[in-house]
């Protein structure tokens, strides 16, 4: 599976979702959390579930 591309909302770094900071793995909400932390600045980027992203993509111009 190809990881999704994320552009950080704060520092504009482009990274793959599985490259988020490993610190999140220790979080008790890691299993259900849809945020991915930018490896450059630490900003939490909201990464929607795949089904929701597809749905949004369908309605985007």
């Amino acid at each position: 599976m190809i990881a999704r591309r994320v552009v950080c909302g704060l520092c504009a770094l482009e990274f793959l979702e599985d490259m988020g900071q490993p610190v999140c793995r220790a979080c008790p909400l890691a299993g259900i959390c849809h945020n991915v932390r930018c490896p450059n600045c630490g900003y939490e980027n909201a990464l929607p579930p795949a089904w929701l992203a597809r749905l949004a993509g369908r309605f985007s111009p």
């Binding site: 704060l10 909201a46 929701l52």
Partner: protein, 664 residues
């Protein structure tokens, strides 16, 4: 004449690298370097600190045309003239000649800004490959690139790739392998005296260097301390002649040497780009793009940016989050959804429970449903929902980094580090997470200062939203709150920056293009954040209700409230306000919801509202943030901050009360 690269001279055949081919990925931040690293390596990646530093280097195994190798993902690097710890590590890795092949990862969309580093990498005299990444996006922007022409001009392979999809990766692997047995690229030639000075300095370096001395000569001319240290090690005379010659040559320029060298490099880049890059954006979008580009630049400048920010905050935070989220939505949820439907339903449901205490656990003053669920769903959720929607619009439009840039300028005037902008901006979402992010700051001084300011004067999203909702109808009270909190931030920041020694580092932040936010993106981001917040906040609010219920039943709550009451009375607040300070220590938003409730019951006049709002904002951080402070800064520092913040917050609240009563 060009020599042929031997890749450490360990073998002439491509199969002869006893420790494998070592490939270093180099490039500016945000060019997709790590995405390319993931493509070139397998699943198993080692992350270790570079020797003697806390900067992490990722290493992974990869194969290049059947030859096993190791790929190093280096920290982002704008120039070989390093200015941060991260850049110094990448610089050392390159100057040590650790890599057999250097791959310069370049963002194809921003080629003119990327090639200055390419020229510096050519000076290393090591096998070099250019990975022209994000070609798909460059094409979408209407850019026409000619990689073959660029390769011909630079004398190194240029491979177009799209790292995230894997397009061009096979060609890149092949180019990396062949670079090892290809002629070493020639260093670039610069004009206007810079080339001559570099040539002379290069002639002074007679020692044996791991890479071409031309790279050391360029850095020496620009006064780089690491290059000076290397020259001292490698030259027989301890590098005295060469360092003195560099100073002499640099003093001959009409401007600082780093500036002269940068200008000549950029000129060389412009010459290179002729016939390599053509821009032809689609006509229908050209006007819109030009307008957004102009706006994007203007919003980063104080003259336009500051008034624009004031308007955005007024409309977004005050009107939308405060009035609509905290007023209209909360009123409906509280008075209609909870008062008419939800609370009566649960009251009927638990009416059959055997004791008052059991019923109180669910529908009492601190009941799971009447306090925990109502605070989480009826008060906090609509406010943070409105806040997240507003935040998603800022984020998706690319405006957020421009706010950071503006605040950076203010920070520098206060004597604070520009880099500290990032955790400060994040603090408006969640202070606990922002405290963790302070670890990315370069010096201890910055980390301590940022942690203190986050704990003291940066309200989290829920707290900010509730306070705006409370004060939305009372502009004077809001004005007092803003003045007190901003004043505290400026005062403590300025004093702290002077008390804690150290120089502020340079701050780099990429500015993405400004764009019209897409409704789909905004709604999806808002939903995702609300879902995450709700999952986090609801269990904690319910737990808080249970703990408060236990404390209430055992009399511990009354004792704790009695302990806080004298301080609350000194602020001129009613005795009931003592509870919200205890709530606030549990969670910032829980305390804010308590303040909302107190005001809603008509227990606070405008002065008391201002005093309570200011004190609660400045008051000690919530438990989660305090634990994070202990983890990140150590127990001693965290306790010292707590010892400072608690009396300071009450002191400011006390002053606000005195001043407002006197003015009244």
């Amino acid at each position: 004449m060009r020599s042929v690269a031997s890749c450490h001279g360990e073998a002439s055949a491509v199969t002869g690298w006893p420790r494998g081919l070592r490939v270093a990925l180099v490039g500016a931040p945000n060019v997709g370097k790590s995405a390319l690293f993931n493509r070139l390596t397998g699943r198993y990646v080692t992350v270790s600190n570079y020797p003697g530093t806390s900067v992490e280097i990722a290493r992974g195994a990869g194969t290049f045309g059947g030859v096993a190798g190791e790929v190093l993902d280096t920290p982002g690097l704008y120039s070989l003239l390093a200015t941060s710890d991260d850049e110094r590590v990448a610089q050392r890795l390159l100057l040590d000649g650790t890599a057999d092949v250097v791959v310069h990862v370049v963002d194809a969309k921003n080629l003119p800004r990327m090639l200055a580093l390419t020229l510096q990498l050519l000076e290393l005299g090591r096998p070099l490959v250019i990975a022209l990444n994000m070609m798909d996006e460059a094409e979408r922007l209407g850019l026409r690139l000619f990689p073959g022409e660029l390769a011909r001009r630079l004398g190194v392979p240029v491979v177009p790739v799209v790292a995230v999809t894997g397009w061009g990766i096979a060609e890149l692997r092949s180019a990396i392998l062949h670079a090892c047995t290809s002629p070493v690229p020639l260093p670039p030639v610069y004009g206007n005296g810079v080339g001559t000075a570099l040539g002379r300095l290069r002639g002074r370096l007679a020692g044996v260097y791991p890479v071409d001395p031309a790279a050391f000569a360029a850095l020496l001319l620009q006064g780089d301390a690491n290059a000076q240290a290397a020259v001292r090690r490698h030259e027989r005379d301890g590098g005295r002649w060469a360092i003195a010659a560099a100073r002499d040559l640099a003093s001959g320029f009409d401007a600082p040497a780093p500036y002269r060298v940068a200008v000549e490099r950029q000129r060389a880049v412009e010459v290179l780009l002729d016939r390599v890059l053509l821009a032809s954006p689609p006509r229908s979008r050209a006007y819109e793009r030009r307008l957004l580009d102009w706006l994007g630049r203007a919003l980063g400048r104080p003259a336009v940016g500051v008034p624009a920010l004031a308007v955005v905050l007024y409309v977004g935070l005050y009107l939308f989050v405060g009035r609509f989220g905290g007023g209209t939505l909360v009123d409906w949820l509280e008075h209609v959804a909870f008062d008419r439907w939800i609370s009566p339903f649960f009251e009927r449901l638990v009416a059959g429970l055997p004791s008052d205490a059991m019923r109180a656990l669910f529908v009492g003053e601190y009941g799971l449903l009447t306090l925990g669920l109502r605070y989480a769903v009826g008060i906090i959720l609509p406010i943070v929902g409105a806040f997240f929607l507003f935040f998603a619009v800022l984020e998706d439009s690319g405006y957020l980094p421009r706010i950071a840039l503006l605040v950076d300028r203010v920070f520098k005037r206060l004597g604070l580090s520009g880099r500290a902008v990032i955790p400060m901006v994040l603090g408006f979402a969640c202070d606990t997470m922002a405290t963790m992010v302070t670890r990315t700051l370069e010096t201890r001084r910055e980390r301590v200062l940022a942690t203190l300011l986050l704990a003291l004067a940066i309200p989290c999203s829920a707290q900010l939203g509730v306070i705006l909702a409370l004060m939305a109808g009372q502009p004077l009270v809001l004005g007092v709150w803003i003045a007190a909190v901003v004043g505290t931030f400026v005062l403590v920041g300025a004093v702290g920056a002077r008390v804690l020694p150290g120089a502020p580092p340079l701050f780099h932040m990429e500015l993405p293009p400004l764009r019209v936010p897409r409704a789909g993106n905004v709604l999806v981001k808002t939903y995702t954040r609300m879902q995450w917040y709700f999952l986090e906040v609801l269990p904690l609010f319910l737990l808080a209700s249970i703990l408060l219920w236990i404390a209430d039943q055992t009399g511990m709550l009354a004792a704790a409230v009695a302990g806080v009451e004298p301080a609350v009375a000194a602020l001129g607040l009613p005795a009931d306000a003592a509870r919200i300070f205890l709530f606030g220590f549990f969670r910032r938003d829980y305390g804010a919801a308590g303040l909302y409730d107190l005001n809603h019951q008509g227990l606070l006049d405008p002065v008391q509202l201002a005093v309570a709002g200011v004190t609660l904002t400045l008051f000690v951080p919530c438990i989660a943030q305090f634990l994070m402070m202990m983890k990140e800064r150590g127990a001693k520092t965290a306790l010292a901050m707590l010892a400072f913040i608690t009396p300071f917050a009450f002191g400011v609240g006390f002053l606000v009360n005195i001043v407002l009563r006197w003015l009244r």
